[in-house]
């Protein structure tokens, strides 16, 4: 049972969180202007790196706030957490 550090509530067990996949994938400003390929990219395609991954989490059973985290998908170690709208921090 991993701990995930909610930026507001602090470290909590992973079962309190909801996973939201890749972060920094903005909803297109003008979906209608996109080709089918571009739209499909937005709907279905997400990065799947082996290593640090910026992703979204929600503290579903706690403060219900979404936040971003950089997590290493090999070790599952959380390298950084940050609030929505903030830039992805540099992690080593």
């Amino acid at each position: 049972m991993q701990l995930i550090p909610c930026p507001w509530c602090g470290p909590r067990e992973e079962v309190e969180f909801h996973y939201g996949g890749q972060a920094h994938v903005d909803y297109p400003a003008e979906p209608a202007a996109l080709s089918d390929e571009e739209w499909a990219k937005f709907v279905f395609f997400r990065d799947n790196p082996r290593g640090p991954f910026a992703e979204r989490w929600s503290h579903a059973a706690g403060c219900r706030r979404w936040f971003n985290a950089v997590r290493d998908t090999r070790s599952y170690e959380l390298l950084a957490v940050y609030r929505p709208g903030q830039e992805r921090p540099v992690t080593t």
């Binding site: 049972m1 991993q2 701990l3 470290p11 909801h18 939201g20 903005d26 909803y27 297109p28 003008e30 979906p31 209608a32 996109l34 089918d36 739209w39 499909a40 937005f42 709907v43 979204r56 929600s58 579903a60 219900r64 706030r65 979404w66 070790s75 599952y76 170690e77 929505p84 709208g85």
Partner: protein, 947 residues
């Protein structure tokens, strides 16, 4: 054999106790403090069963969890498969049998309780041996919160199995002093009989505590038998000791062949001599101690074979003094005996003059494998130590350190020292100032004199009888066969031979197998990747892991405020997600079909009511609420006027329907949404996700109010009369209170919000009150409706009523592949809005196909035939040979009181173009003729909704 092998003195057993037990049908006696294994040995019983593949007699080989042979089945007090005799504490009345590889499950349910508990600490110490005790004490003295777990019935670890002295006194005294101090220090939790079986990141360790097993028949039923401890530690000290490793030789599996350290444990802890005449075979110093101590206890130890040419001078001298002949450079080349060892063949390593020694017991030591399981589970890297032939912890981890023999240190004083150091380091890392340097007790044990030799097996013997994994009956020959087959990876060899996959998970065989494979491939073990250990360290009962999440606590049962009323009325319930919903209310003698026809008739002809409180309700406030709703729903919500209600459909970004419900506009900047029962949480999460991650500029707050309200649809032509009776101040006329509007009013004295919405096509009022008043409202409605024959109805009737009107249910008539257009709801998809969630997906090629599946009605040609929900629609009037083209399937099917016939809803390829066509639906092994119709089968004009 019934001889008594209990020594006249010594051991930690209670000599005043007398426990009766039965093993393999024999009635035997033991003592409190015995394990089943020590009690058997005390009775001279070595053989516990026969081996899985070759049926060879096998006996007790170890004294702990690493035991590969002595698997037992517990018959009483309660059937339990496959435990090791070496870990079963003896109790009066125990009935057990030896196993030959297969356990037997009980036929009846286990009556025991199992539970779990969380514990938090600064420092967790695993193992209460010398290193662990020293670490725990150091941490506790520093003011840290400490948890100390140990898998034995009492603390002491390896000290329990030796006669080592500390500071010139028996180590018992030191252990007792440490324990006394720990037990009186606040913030220390000490758990005996507790095995840490899994270690995970962030200091999470799972441990199994066996709380009542040792009480046997006296175990209290209200106390959990096993407890899973979920320990969260800032720092962990792993002081889990080491397991002795055998040397493989021909016929190395006979009863009477034990690990040398185990014999010491049986001697010192249990006061048991493992045989009358013992030979010892070793490649390191430690087995000398077994030989010396057993000889001192008066047991005949004629020979000690040391594979090393150079033997420890001091220990050899001590052996000689006790009449033990030490044979340098000698090995065991084979053994004799059937149920019990009778002779050992010995000879010089590498061949030469052979000899035979008559003995009933052979003690073997091939060295010690640190118990690095937890360290490895944590991701710690292991390093092969060629000098000891063992895998030892590599560099230490930030939050876990290893101390004592688990770290590959086998000298007692150093182990204690390491424990103290680990304790100091752990508390420092946890933010404490370590207590003043503790004094290290001085152990008066013999230091290692001669370096150990690494010997995996004695070559040149009968390899097909030289067992590497005793439990899986895998021999050296089979390992050779595997490497000969082209296998170079240890993982492949393990799979080819099954080595290491049995109950002991290779605790005695794993390293030996790795060594043999490397030897055969001419590889260097240090360059090969060691096995990664995975939880659990030792086996854990399923029930312990299931804990208390069983029966009614398996998953929360969610109920509404009216639940007890439904129960009292004899309602049948349906599981909808975690909710219990009343499905129908059968009266005396009614089956569901009859009850539902009656309930439907009441709703269509008189008045009926249901508990719809499970619908999700979300309060939405903010200046931008309307803008948000326009994005969430396919239809336009911003144009909804205050006081009015609109039905809405929600899609995912892929354009598929995910939910539907109503939107009530309470004020310009205040809405109340309803969701389907099953999707309430999902929809709120969905809203929050968009609000927080995509559109944080929107000034809207969403709040769940699902359970704040009890929701009661009052349905039927007489509903107006009933409501009027209870809400005299409310003008219930259609002009004053029109369809798809809402009003606040007092109903039966209760403040209520009433919505003119209808999921049945009938005149209906959905009454919402504070949930505390739900029952009062319900009972008032029942009373007021009595003159009209008011009838409670359940979800089944609700489904029939809505289906007669062609209203789909998300999740029943849709399956994640259905768009609003497919449902015939293009009217609910705004053409004006530039965007909403899902809109862009509607223009993809697949969405534009004319042959998409669309929602239609089906009328069976025979109006009494009920179509099966899930029946597939085909064009053939018979079942042809497969494959048969499927056009769609029946999503909902009912017998309708109002229509006087059966009908169904279905999704059908090009469905709307097929209206009027005759098609067929599969039912069992036949087909049923149906006519495709519009979805609305009842009151097409909508004349009834206003009463």
């Amino acid at each position: 054999m019934t001889a008594d092998f209990r020594l006249p003195a010594g051991g930690r057993i209670d000599r005043d106790s007398a426990l009766r037990f039965s093993f393999n049908g024999r009635s035997l006696a033991g003592r409190t403090g015995d394990t089943l294994a020590s009690a058997l040995l005390a009775n001279g019983v070595h053989q516990t069963g026969t081996s899985i593949k070759y049926g060879r007699p096998r006996g007790i080989m170890a004294a702990g969890v690493e035991e590969p042979n002595a698997l037992v089945q517990i018959a009483e007090p309660f059937t339990e498969p496959m435990l090791t005799a070496t870990t079963v504490e003896l109790y009066d009345g125990l009935v057990a049998d030896g196993l030959s590889g297969y356990g037997v499950l009980a036929a009846e349910p286990d009556p025991s309780r199992y539970d779990a508990k969380h514990a938090h600490c600064d420092v967790l110490v695993v193992g209460a041996g010398p290193a662990g005790l020293a670490a725990a004490l150091t941490a506790a003295r520093s003011g840290a919160r400490v948890v100390l777990v140990d898998d034995q019935s009492e603390p002491g670890g390896s000290l329990l199995g030796t006669d080592d002295n500390l500071d010139g006194r028996s180590s018992d005294v030191w252990v007792r002093d440490v324990i006394t101090e720990l037990d009186t220090t606040p913030g220390v939790l000490r758990l005996d009989r507790t095995t840490a079986f899994g270690a995970y990141q962030d200091g999470f360790v799972l441990a199994l505590q066996r709380r009542t097993d040792h009480l046997g028949f006296d175990a209290p039923s209200h106390v959990s038998r096993h407890r899973i401890w979920r320990i969260r530690a800032k720092q962990t000290v792993i002081a889990t000791g080491a397991h002795e490793r055998p040397i493989v030789f021909a016929d190395n599996d006979r009863p009477g062949i034990l690990l040398a350290g185990a014999a010491r444990t049986y001697l010192h802890r249990y006061g048991v001599q493992v045989g009358r005449r013992l030979a010892v075979f070793t490649a390191n110093d430690s087995a000398y101690l077994a030989a010396i101590e057993l000889a001192e206890a008066g047991i005949d130890v004629p020979v000690l074979l040391d594979a090393r040419q150079e033997v420890p001078p001091g220990l050899s001298a001590e052996c000689a003094a006790r009449g033990i002949e030490v044979h340098p450079g000698h090995v065991v080349t084979g053994t004799e005996g059937h149920d019990r060892l009778t002779d050992v063949h010995i000879g010089p390593f590498g061949g030469g003059q052979a000899d035979t020694v008559g003995c009933d017991t052979l003690l073997v030591s091939g060295g010690w494998n640190p118990a690095v399981h937890l360290f490895s589970q944590l991701g710690g890297t292991l390093r092969y130590a060629p000098e000891t032939g063992a895998y030892v912890p590599g560099e230490s981890l930030a939050s876990a350190r290893v101390a004592g023999s688990a770290a590959g240190t086998f000298e007692l004083t150093t182990c204690v020292e390491q424990g103290i150091d680990a304790g100091r380091a752990a508390v420092t890392a946890a933010g404490f100032t370590p207590a003043a340097e503790a004094r290290v007790p001085v152990a008066d044990v013999r230091a290692e004199e001669t370096a150990a030799a690494v010997l995996w097996r004695v070559p040149g013997g009968a390899d097909d009888r030289a067992f590497v994994d005793l439990q899986r009956d895998v021999t050296v020959s089979e390992v050779e066969r595997a490497t000969g087959a082209g296998l170079e990876s240890l993982e492949h060899v393990k799979r080819y031979t099954t080595i290491g996959t049995a109950h002991d998970q290779g605790k005695t065989s794993g390293t030996v197998a790795a060594g043999l494979v490397a030897e055969q491939l001419g590889a260097n073990l240090a360059e090969r990747r060691p096995t990664t250990f995975r939880p659990p360290y030792t086996s854990v009962p399923f029930a312990a892991l299931g804990g208390r999440d069983r029966g009614e606590l398996y998953d929360p049962i969610r109920v509404t405020a009216l639940h007890d009323w439904h129960v009292a009325q004899g309602a049948e319930f349906e599981d909808v997600g975690q909710w219990k919903r009343a499905r129908h209310y059968p009266r005396q003698g009614e089956d569901m079909h009859t009850a539902v026809l009656r309930e439907c008739r009441a709703a269509r002809e008189g008045v009926a009511l249901m508990d719809a409180s499970t619908l999700g309700k979300i309060d939405l406030q903010g200046p931008d609420a309307a803008e948000l709703l326009d994005m969430l729903y396919t239809n336009m919500m911003s144009t909804l006027k205050v006081g009015r209600i609109r039905y809405g459909v929600m899609c995912g970004i892929d354009g598929m329907v995910i939910d539907d419900g109503t939107v009530i506009r309470l004020a310009d900047d205040h809405f109340l949404l309803t969701t389907t029962t099953g999707n309430a949480a999902m929809v709120l999460d969905w809203i929050e996700e968009w609000l927080q991650t995509e559109w944080p500029h929107l000034r809207v707050f969403a709040t769940s109010v699902t359970e704040h309200w009890v929701t009661v649809p009052l349905v039927g032509p007489k509903s107006r009369d009933v409501l009027a009776a209870l809400a005299p101040e409310l003008d219930v006329s259609n002009d004053a209170f029109g369809f798809m509007t809402w009003q606040d009013a007092t109903v039966a004295g209760i403040p209520a919000r009433i919505c003119r919405i209808s999921f049945s096509g009938e005149l209906a009022y959905e009454i919402n009150v504070n949930a505390w008043c739900g029952l009062a409202l319900w009972e008032a409605l029942i009373e007021a409706g009595e003159p009209y024959g008011i009838t409670p109805y359940g979800t089944e009737t609700m489904h029939v009523l809505r289906a007669e009107k062609g209203y789909p249910i998300v999740g029943q008539d849709t399956d994640g592949t259905v768009t609003p257009q497919d449902l015939g709801m293009s009217w609910a998809v705004s053409k004006k809005k530039t965007d909403f969630i899902g809109k862009r997906s509607f223009s993809r090629a697949e969405n534009l196909r004319p042959d998409r599946k669309q929602l239609v009605g089906l009328l069976p040609a025979d109006p009494s035939v009920l179509l099966p929900e899930g029946g597939q629609i085909i064009e053939h009037d018979h079942l042809p040979e497969p494959p048969v083209r499927m056009l769609g399937h029946v999503t909902s099917s009912y017998d309708s009181a109002a229509l006087g016939r059966t009908f169904a809803l279905a999704v059908l390829r090009s469905g709307r173009d097929r209206i009027g066509e005759k098609l067929y639906v599969t039912k069992d092994d036949e087909v049923v003729a149906v006519t495709v119709t519009d979805t609305v089968l009842y009151d097409k004009e909508g004349a009834r909704r206003d009463g």
